[in-house]
């Protein structure tokens, strides 16, 4: 079968190539998905560039990407929750990475039926960003009338986090650039801050939760706008100590600046490490079918133009997801 593979670390055009590879083997707990669409995320680009070789080293060649939608065409003997012919979507686990291919084998625990009211292409763009948003805001225990700041409302995670937070009844502040203000408003955000003309720090005060999807100075600035005793949740900032210990970094300490800020505000800081989860995807499926969440697709590329899709992703200017139609 044909697959887009990472052949080395480095520039996108030099490091990705189409190869003929064998169909993946199906383990007893796996389903084999005939891929209809795959989507790419910032992490896929970072892996190609080699920025994550310390944390997620990969053998060469490796088929790229994690997000997928398609049809179950084969299943392992231990799989009871799916049938051949089911239409599904998934964020595949690290060890099964490789969705830009004609087939991918995935442990059934990471798979869910896809929402029935959206296309394969729209569904492929949901898993990684949707799981990140859901797991972050669920950890924060978001509830009706909470006030939350969600950074980068037009991003893959931000756009879904806004809709999830609104579905839970929260009041949502979000930041975005001038071009995106209108459509981000349409996602339901209560106060859309144009970061090119407004300073969010003078508008957002004492929120219950800050959801940091940008990192760097935004992580520490979060403590200026969160309320005393509030929560800062990040998917890009430094690891928190508990998470680092879980990954075996026994001596890890939160950077001093963050530790001080967090102590002063008595506000918690938590790094969320997204994990594949079919049950969570099933929850998102229901929310999509109930029209509480809608998928946002920027561009759909044909399989043969997958490398152009990565170059587009690298611009960081996509409004919603970049999707590759496989079959």
């Amino acid at each position: 079968m044909k697959a887009l593979q990472i052949v080395k670390y480095g520039e996108i055009k030099d490091s990705l190539a189409f190869n003929e590879v064998s169909k993946p083997a199906v383990q007893p707990t796996d389903v084999l998905i005939e891929v209809k669409a795959a989507a790419i995320n910032p992490i896929d680009k970072s892996i190609v560039l080699g920025n994550l070789q310390g944390l997620l080293p990969i053998p060469f060649p490796s088929t790229s990407a994690y997000d997928v939608s398609g049809i179950v065409v084969e299943k392992g003997n231990d799989v009871s929750n799916f049938e051949i012919g089911d239409l599904v979507y998934s964020r595949v686990p690290q060890e099964q990475m490789g969705t830009i291919a004609e087939y991918v084998a995935v442990t059934s625990e990471a798979v869910s039926k896809k929402p029935g009211n959206i296309s394969f292409e729209e569904a492929a763009g949901i898993p990684l960003a949707g799981l990140t948003a859901l797991q972050s805001l669920e950890f924060a225990g978001i509830k009706a009338n909470d006030r939350i700041l969600i950074h980068a409302g037009s991003g893959g995670v931000g756009s879904l986090a806004i809709q999830y937070a609104k579905a839970k009844g929260a009041y949502v502040y979000t930041t975005t650039s001038t071009d995106n203000v209108e459509w981000v408003k349409e996602l339901g955000a209560d106060r859309v801050i144009d970061y090119k003309t407004e300073d969010y720090k003078t508008i957002v005060k004492d929120v219950d939760i800050v959801y940091d999807t940008l990192g760097q100075e935004y992580t520490s600035e979060a403590f200026q706008v969160v309320k005393q005793g509030g929560q800062v949740i990040s998917v890009v900032g430094p690891l928190d100590e508990e998470t680092a210990h879980m990954f075996g970094m026994a001596d890890y300490q939160l950077p001093e600046e963050l530790a001080t800020l967090s102590a002063e505000k008595e506000a918690s800081y938590k790094f969320i490490f997204m994990h594949p989860n079919g049950a969570h995807l099933a929850e998102i499926k229901t929310m999509i079918e109930d029209e509480r969440i809608k998928p946002i697709v920027d561009t759909i590329y044909p399989f043969a133009e997958s490398i152009a899709a990565f170059t587009h992703l690298a611009t960081g200017r996509a409004k919603g997801k970049i999707v590759i139609k496989i079959n």
Binding site: E83, G85, I118, F120
Partner: protein, 155 residues
């Protein structure tokens, strides 16, 4: 109860609940062919009568109670006991009438009229279904359905 692509052996008579038959298009979107509530029959008749695998999926939209009949056994029964034949004919006629009406409505009525007719005829179905079930039954987008509902609420 029936899955697209599988063999179909049974037809179902609904004694309680609400079911739906639908198919997927090549983009993975669902299209609803039929809803079935109390006293209705549902199956994939295309598969049964052409001996092909199912083109439809049949699912319950709420907890339902059905009587399952093996299609071949039913057929045999009608041969053995011809007095049941008119009963079968009545079922088929009703089915044909409702399908004809559905096709004509689709051809003649506006989206708003189709929706109005649907909720007048089957007010109970709406409570068990997602918007997209009804939208895909009427052959309109979810956005159009929402718009029609808002318009209706105004009047």
């Amino acid at each position: 109860m029936i899955r697209q692509g599988q063999q179909v052996q049974n037809v179902y008579f609904v004694t309680d609940g609400c079911l739906r038959s639908y198919c997927y298009d090549k983009n993975g979107k669902e299209h609803t062919l039929q809803f079935a509530i109390k006293n209705w029959w549902i199956s994939d008749y295309i598969a049964i009568h052409s001996d092909e695998s199912a083109t439809l999926t049949v699912e319950c939209l709420k907890e339902s109670e059905v009587v399952k009949f093996n299609a071949k056994a039913l057929e045999k029964m009608y041969t053995l006991f011809p007095e049941y034949e008119p009963f079968q004919r009545k079922i088929l006629e009703r089915h044909v009438v409702s399908l004809n009406k559905r096709i004509l409505n689709q051809l003649q009525l506006t989206a708003t009229e189709r929706y109005t007719l649907f909720i007048t005829q089957y007010p109970e179905i709406e409570q068990y279904t997602h918007n997209y079930h009804i939208a895909s039954y009427l052959g309109i987008t979810q956005e159009s359905l929402s718009r029609i509902r808002v318009e209706k609420a105004k009047h």
